[in-house]
Point group: C2
Chain length 365, copies 2
Amino acid sequence: METRSIDDILQEFLPKNELKEVNRILYGDQTNLSYLGSEEQFSYDIEKYRFTAITKNEQVPRITKIAAIQHSVVLPTDRPIQDQKLQIFKKIEHMIEKSSELGANIVCLPECWNMPFGFVTREKMPWCEYAEDCNNGPSTMFIKRLAQKHAIVIISPIIERDNADLLWNTSVVVSECGTVLGTQRKNHIPTNNGESDYYTHGMSGQRVFDTKFGKIGVTICFDRHQPQNWLMYALNGAEIVFNPAATSATDSWWPIEARSAAFDHSYYVVAVNRVGIEKFHLESGAEKIFKPFGSTYISGPNGSRTKSLSTVRDGILYAELDLDLCKQMRETLGLNQSRRLLYYKNKWTEASSNKFLPQIIQKLQ
Amino acid sequence: METRSIDDILQEFLPKNELKEVNRILYGDQTNLSYLGSEEQFSYDIEKYRFTAITKNEQVPRITKIAAIQHSVVLPTDRPIQDQKLQIFKKIEHMIEKSSELGANIVCLPECWNMPFGFVTREKMPWCEYAEDCNNGPSTMFIKRLAQKHAIVIISPIIERDNADLLWNTSVVVSECGTVLGTQRKNHIPTNNGESDYYTHGMSGQRVFDTKFGKIGVTICFDRHQPQNWLMYALNGAEIVFNPAATSATDSWWPIEARSAAFDHSYYVVAVNRVGIEKFHLESGAEKIFKPFGSTYISGPNGSRTKSLSTVRDGILYAELDLDLCKQMRETLGLNQSRRLLYYKNKWTEASSNKFLPQIIQKLQ
């Protein structure tokens, strides 16, 4: 009954040469991308890759090692909140430890990693109760301890409760010293699935964190459908943008959106999705099932990408990224060079006012 | 020695159910997309599709029928200009006639359809000699005659020579009455392949032509790498954006960029590429080969897409589009609803000035 990934299907049925050509189209030029193999743990998969830069003289590669973790909830969604959180903490502690053993410098968890994605119920309780303070809440304290212990940066997407009891969908970025470097709130909240009942659009911009391991940004789930949002991370100088997500159903554009953005802006994109089956018992008595499909993957600034993790199993996607590939793509392909921001600025200003006249041409009668 | 399309490969090797799953991921939800079959002419292929809107009460479908033509040059590239043009005219006259027979209301030709794509030589002559006046040049006169004869709109991408002998990469949009409705100049000129030696960035915006058959925009080739450009067509109300192109080599993002843009902005995108092999004899005595890979396809506003035309043969991609699917996606998915232009306008204004301070967060030392 498992949904097989298309990689598994292609691998099984295509002869070697045909598989190579299909992969070239699906995953881009693989010259700078090597597969380093897999490891199977008892309860999750590990897949390993390396992105190299274009060969260059006299320059030392600037390598950052990252791990994207996709995981499922552990207990049924109607169990006490503390129990559910603790069981997820246990699993994540192990997976972060493993990521560190692999050599990761930066670890990213999926959207709302510490809870079931109960917003699909459109019921306020108990889901609002999962929200935490970003600096001293139990999830951040837990992540701080692991970041310091392993000397790694950790991106921890949770629901934030602020001083005024307003909720936000927020990623906490914790430094390798175990301190909160800052937060990034979700900029675009969907209006078609219940989420906008719980939290609102962030106003903190598209921050780039200049970490020990490279300049990174975080943009949460639905934000990836807004091209202007991806662009701001490029303007702010990001080399890696993480996209923690909770995405389900027949979302066939997942495999291409992060890749398009990576190519358009010459940065790496790490698309990290939840996985597993979450069952909710609604007040009406009905049952609601949320089934995020995993498929975590990484796309390079040259449009090449890794295969996806499983659609049903937990996993760690580990990759070594030469960050200089960003600079090299900007220099050789030059999409940044032809951006023409000045040309757009007035149109955008008009378009966001009530004076906007769309540029429409009609035939003279 | 032909390069096979990945569709041909998948069709040959995958069992029926596996093919269905792979196609769902590669081409999106096919619920609203039907394949109407193919026709093989002596020298080119015809593929036919229909995009329907979501079932709705009491509304008449708003159908526009389009044809995207991909073709190769006819004579060797060193033959007299007039001869080369005339042979292409002959071929195109036949293909437009066939498109009209199929029922097309709007026909789009590829970038610089009336000439070899000599800009890859980086030599000025004779390529500049192909430029024409957009209103009364021989190519526009030819297109006007066909548009009027068949009562169809034709998008004719050529090199424009203006009154001051400045060249532009321009699409002429001709109405079903055979008059020039207006032009759209290429907004973003690549700086990595020679093109910027010949013509410069257009200043005419992202026009939407409110034709008898729907609101259409045209954005030429490299423009598709700039997300801010796609967005402006959405703000101006486009229902179909045509992307005539001259794209070659290992460009594995071609299959996903038009699809990403269509989904992000809830409009149809018709990606029309040149095809064939063009050999150029350089002044240095060397030979330069340009080999655009065809692969013309159409993506719907819901992220579904047709398969691609051949990578090597001429072809017509015909499709019936229910334009109401744009409105329906805007209403149900609501990506336009969460665009937040006001939130971006000041950042863009800053980013296009020399006062821009990127939003970078560093650890306190």
